[in-house]
Symmetry: C2
Subunit: 638 residues, 2 copies
């Protein structure tokens, strides 16, 4: 659909690309302590090892799956109806919420009543909004602090473990080599975790304790029961966020829904809808109702539209109504730039690039116009009251983040970070889940200071960073300049990485850019998990490397983050199907292959009586015989 | 040209894409102490700052330029003739070389005499090969140790300084704001250099001393006088290498020459020709004669072709003849896998991916077949004798580098590194320039150990690493998995980064992949320079950020590493020329722009009497007036 085409709700369709099965993959559900806790994972099956390499079975790998029902062939997908409300029962059971007769927000009611919007309004919501009963607090942090393990907490515990025990068990059961397969494929380097406290196995109780102490959050608004629980914290897998959203200059509702399904397909753990153009309210409704992942927003963007872009006309009342409007739609976390204080604003005057955060600049403008602290700051406890009534989490925005290498780690940025730490204390006083946003543009050697100060000022509340970009000189490649910084800060302890696409600084990302940003950030997050020594993180690397070594081409593609691209790259030089079982590749060609030599080496090692080599004895014996047969040639014809 | 088309020497043409001027760029030459020392740089001119932002002049930026005469509109380019021999005079003047009557290598003479090769042989070489006179040593290290500053050393000193003093002088001369412009645009963060010793200004004497102590090399074979001198060492700008070369399965001479010109256009500091297919000798001749950058090879690849791929049939005599053949063609550095010792080979038996270095596996195979140390090791001093007669530098290959995260930093890899340190001592005894190759696949937290051990064992001989890849799970994106590791190890002290393209593990890179790899590694190398605090590294970031802040779109594109891509990305959403002077972009649209707010902030800061704000007083006064006039609106129509 073209951005200029008219969007018609009744004709809306799911993006076909988002519901295609991934190669050799199957959606499985791991059941928890009750039948409605069904945690999705993607199972990737593998071919057997070729006989010449040992011939063993390779059990399937389980990977984290953000794609929701879209990749489940048994799910009926109709984006006009939205996803099933999987958490509805859990929310109702707690008995601390009430169904409201109508939207609380005045603006929300106006939009709902406007017949001009009928044509594009999401048609599938037949629920009324829900809110905490008077005096109740429905945040996961509140439950956690009361010692309650919610189904959401159990769900994320199962999810984080990635069915690892099952995989190891399957390895053990492959045959006589089982124990040795476990040793080989389950081995992992000891990481450097900089003081994180990652257990070998994630238990529901561990999840509860982490949420209770504020070291992790489970963002799931009671009005977004369609979302699959996930957790953000430094003792869990590093997560990534994908920004989508239209601007005054382009993109339609349909395109934004497509970007959301596309993002989650490739591994976006959360999605932020940063729309600033037309029909923000309706666009968001479509996104939330169809999103299996938590949705974040920056409510001030919409508030600004309500005052026609005049920041100085913003008021607490307009902002408050916007928060409630969005909370009742089901937004899971709000970026709130409450740390932009009057005293920090002049500190940005000497910067190279001033204030580059949109939210930060809106608030700076307001502060300047009124010569007082912003309503985000003065009404912070009022905001907490709203957050806890719906379980919306804070993402405390870094309105003064640096927009250039020059401005990195300056007094404005670090001053604001201290204030964000103070606001974290207030949010926690209300049991409101909180994460902290971080920079921006920072050269490599100054990245760790960001993490260290954040841990200190914000007492281990999860850090959520944009990159950081490690140089300014590569517009068009800022997914990479920032992917470097993201991997590093993820290693140091950042819990969620906000992706940057190749279009950063240049334009709005399209679907291709979204995918490029997602994959770049998935690999950065995984590199961080490996470096932290996150238990089991290396399993996928090990399996893929084994497939690579054994010339199981399809397995190599399928175990990777982007099987489609890997396969298409391979096929550019060796397109035939037969090449995918060939024991060589286009880099060296068929006449010599370094991978093959290792078999000879193993043979030699065995002759020398190298103990560890026995681990692979079955494979080696086969090979030794074959080596003699084939006359010591390096290459065996396929 | 298609790989299957026949290559005809007399019809060969330069790739038109390689000779297009870069936007707003001009080739300049900075003259040294003698008129034939003319060091190329690219001057990028900039527009004036718009009046609303201050209206100041922005002097041109100077950037490192690897593209040789191709981007000089005054140069006559004919790839059938090759590039001018700019160093010829310097080599002759030294009087320590002699012109040989014919090629020394038997194989070289055979190829030259074979009429079947006439059609594809490079037609433009009318020089005879040159070699050191009996007993002479013509390496730059030898001269350096004798206290001689060669023209090559002066050339690289000028090159490394990037005309920085001229730029600062031009800033100073922009008007009354000059000193403040210097302060703003010349400012740089103090880096963390992990014990490097980078001076504020590179002098010819500093170059000499670094080459003398082995901490840097200037790879330039006396038979490659076409090359523009460059330096590789941890106290200089971080360099990158691009691998090209055909395999038995594809690519033609013409494609490889195009990849070389394409690589250097985008910033490849050296190029390795890793051809393993047909006509290796002739392909290399075309590449060298047309290359403005040093060319590296792995001679064992060609030697293996000479014995029809049977590693065990390799002999010292065949290898020796290959070294001489290539040295007389002008190869500037040889990868020699002399550290693959018998005792390390069994250590690879328990690896996940065995021996993945092609050269390493050839030598391992040889060692196993003969049950003795390789001729590379036993004849190492004989090799040194050849190297010093032509000034070919060693790149001591890491034949046992890890091919998977699993295998990182294992005993085989680290054992070999120790041997490479011992070989470095031997090379240095002969005054042969030496760099050391490094991994491979290494998780982030294990990267620094590689650098630390390399510095220790190899006594600061320059490190030259492939990536390292920080995870195995992203085939199709290994330029990024490795770009992360490359930036980090560059920061820690690696002198040259060998690029990885998106096709790594999947196929041979085409021109697009080459460019993607180059730009990724250029930005990684630059991020490393910034983090090390390399003097002046931040100048380009500062200039680009200033252009970005002032909405000088074309300047933002042109100051970046890839102006073409940046412009095309921008134009996807705002294609009109008028949009390139617009004071907004497609991310926020025309109604609100965070960048604009900073002007208000500066005004406010000035009112508060913030001292430093005066630095920008001219800009602020203009803006203050304008702000009042425009009725405190955030957006001014263009």
């Amino acid at each position: 659909m073209n951005a200029n085409d008219k969007f018609i709700a009744t004709a809306a369709q799911v993006d076909e690309a988002a519901v295609q099965p991934l190669p050799n993959s199957r959606k499985i559900y791991v059941e928890g302590s009750r039948p409605d806790i069904r945690v999705p994972m993607r199972e990737i099956s593998q071919a057997d090892t070729p006989t010449g390499f040992g011939g063993e079975k390779n059990p399937p790998i389980y990977v984290y799956d953000c794609s929701g029902p879209y990749t489940d062939p048994n799910a009926k997908i109709d984006i006009r109806s939205g996803l099933p409300a999987l958490r509805q029962q859990w929310i109702e059971e707690r008995g601390d919420t009430e169904v409201l007769p109508d939207l609380t927000s005045e603006y929300g009611r106006q939009r709902a009543a406007d017949p001009a919007l009928d044509e594009l309004r999401f048609p599938g919501l037949h629920r009324k909004p829900r809110r905490a009963k008077a005096g109740a607090n429905v945040s996961q942090m509140h439950y956690a602090r009361k010692g309650i393990i919610t189904p959401e907490m159990e769900y994320v515990a199962i999810r984080e473990n990635l069915n690892r025990q099952q995989y190891l068990e399957n390895l053990r059961n492959t045959g006589p080599m089982g124990e040795k397969m476990v040793k080989l494929l389950g081995r992992q380097h000891k990481g450097q975790d900089f003081g994180a406290a990652i257990p070998q196995e994630i238990t529901p109780e561990f999840v509860r304790s982490e949420v209770a102490r504020g070291r992790a959050i489970i963002p799931n608004n009671i009005n977004h029961p369609e979302s699959e629980p996930m957790i953000i914290g430094r003792n869990f897998l590093v997560k990534i966020n994908a920004n989508i959203g239209n601007s005054a200059l382009g993109s339609s509702i349909s395109e934004e829904v497509d970007k959301m399904t596309w993002s989650t397909r490739w591994g976006g753990d959360t999605v932020m809808d940063l729309s600033t153009g037309k029909n923000i309210h309706e666009t968001r409704e479509w996104i939330i109702r169809n999103s299996p992942v938590p949705i974040g927003t920056v409510p001030i963007y919409q508030a600004l539209e309500k005052v026609n872009g005049k920041a100085e006309e913003l008021t607490w009342e307009i902002f408050r109504d916007t928060l409630i409007e969005q909370a009742e739609q089901g937004v899971d976390y709000f970026t709130i730039h409450a740390g932009v204080l009057l005293r920090y604003i002049p500190m940005t005057a000497n910067r190279m690039t001033g204030i580059v955060s949109r939210g930060g600049s809106i608030m700076a403008k307001w502060c300047l116009a009124h010569h007082k602290e912003s309503f985000l700051y003065t009404h912070f406890e009022d905001i907490c009251e709203i957050m806890k009534a719906y379980d919306v989490a804070f993402s405390l925005g870094d309105g003064l983040r640096p927009g250039s290498i020059y401005d990195a780690n300056d007094e404005a940025q670090l001053g604001e970070l201290e204030t964000l730490g103070e606001l974290t204390d207030i949010a926690w006083k209300h049991d409101v889940q909180t994460i902290i946003e971080g920079p921006g543009h920072v050269p490599m050697h100054m990245i760790k200071e960001n993490m260290d100060l954040q841990l200190k000022h914000c007492k281990e509340a999860p850090f959520y960073t944009l990159g950081p970009l490690t140089t300014d000189i590569a517009p068009g490649y800022d997914h990479i300049t920032s992917g470097i910084g993201a991997a590093m800060i993820g290693w140091y302890g950042t819990a969620m990485l906000c992706y940057v696409t190749p279009k950063e600084h240049l334009g709005l990302p399209d679907k291709n850019d979204v995918k490029e940003g997602i994959i770049t950030y998935k690999l950065a997050a995984h590199a961080a998990d490996l470096a932290k020594g996150h238990p089991g993180a290396q399993i996928r690397d090990n399996a893929l490397s084994k497939a690579r070594y054994e010339f199981r081409w399809d397995d190599q593609f399928n175990l990777g983050l982007d099987p489609d691209k890997a396969k298409s790259f391979h096929d550019e030089t060796l397109p035939k199907e037969s090449a995918k079982v060939a024991h060589f590749c286009s880099m060296c060609g068929p006449h010599f292959c370094s991978m093959k030599i290792t078999q000879d080496v193993r043979d030699f090692a065995a002759q020398q009586g190298i103990g560890e080599a026995e681990a692979l004895e079955k494979g080696m014996e086969t090979k030794a015989v074959e080596f003699v047969k084939s006359g010591a040639e390096l290459y065996r014809k396929v």
